[in-house]
Amino acid sequence: MTADAAALDILLAVLLVFLVWRLLTLSDLFKATILFIVFGLLLSLAWVRLRAPDVALAEAAIGSGVTGALVLDALRRLGAHGAVDEARPLRLNLARLSGGLLVACLGAILLWSVLSLPAGWRGLSAEAMAAMPHSGVTNPVTASLLNFRSHDTLLEIAVLMLAVLGVWTLDAEPKPSAEPAGPILDLLVRILLPLMVVVAGYLLWAGGHAPGGAFQGAAVLAAGGILLHLARPFYLGNHVIIRLVIGFGFAVFLAIGVMLVVGGGRFLEFPSRHAGTLILVVEAAATISIALILLALFVGNVREGAGRDAP
């Protein structure tokens, strides 16, 4: 590594720690939110430096973009009174101390498990790379996520679905302002939205052989939906069609797993001849569902007085 690259890495590391410290201690929640978004962008830069472009894409799109928009939206609903957190800067009390101890214990366990690995162990990457020809794709990250450890990914989608249930049990959205968004935001939506749909499709397709995949594509699609919601507020509600689309990705994933068992194989163990097709089908279904899930997290429940679709 050259000296200037090392300098950039050190600068990044120091900046990341500084940003976390600032955003945890600031009493102005708006500033803390902006710092959180900046932190996400710098973190994705750090992932690029670690040569993990897939993680960088996911961090920029989900960690910084969609989550940043979610936090900003929550802040707006808190109103002027909620914008300053009197509890900050955080002081030590019993609850925080015990929480901190718990985290420290978890960290110690993680550290211990890393240290207890046999010396000179090279990890599972050699086995994973050896199995790549049977995975159906050429991008090792997609092979890991959708083939070698597809159980994890299946359960991740289930967790996202549960998150939507959580949002739906909370209060309904406040009424939007009746004011039209104005011509500029409309123009932006009209140009950006089709581009975002194309980019999401590209990311989904590229996932097989290059950085990309279902989560990244879905995040871009969801961001397009959020932009549209900001320009022309709409409500998803928990209409049966919405619920079906949200469950679609999980259902397809599960159905393929069950079909493999019925066909005499093992659960989610793709036969290498059809693995590529199966992964693409699962990813396409998951993209649609995850995009709607992320959008539902932002848009929230049906507006009061319009809850006829609610069961």
Binding site: L185, L188, I191, L192, L195
Partner: protein, 100 residues
Amino acid sequence: MAVLDWLSMALVGAGTLFFIAGSIGLLRLPDVMTRLHALTKADNVGLGLIVLGLSLQTSGPMEVVRLLLVWALALLTSSCACYLVAHATLQARRETGHDS
């Protein structure tokens, strides 16, 4: 080849200057409107100069097209974001009756 490299350096350097000026403006200027004025120059001209400088280092026309697309998207979103921030500021001023 060396001439191209020098030209790239000069263009990227000039672009960086615009970003530095924009950052100083963001920190030093008194209110939202003047800060926006400083920031959009950095976004539009600074990024444009850097894209031009990088275009001289590419291996083919497709990369140049991609770089130009990045610039065009940044131009579109930064000018729209600038308008939206300015619009929201004006509205807030009208509601509260004083400068924010």
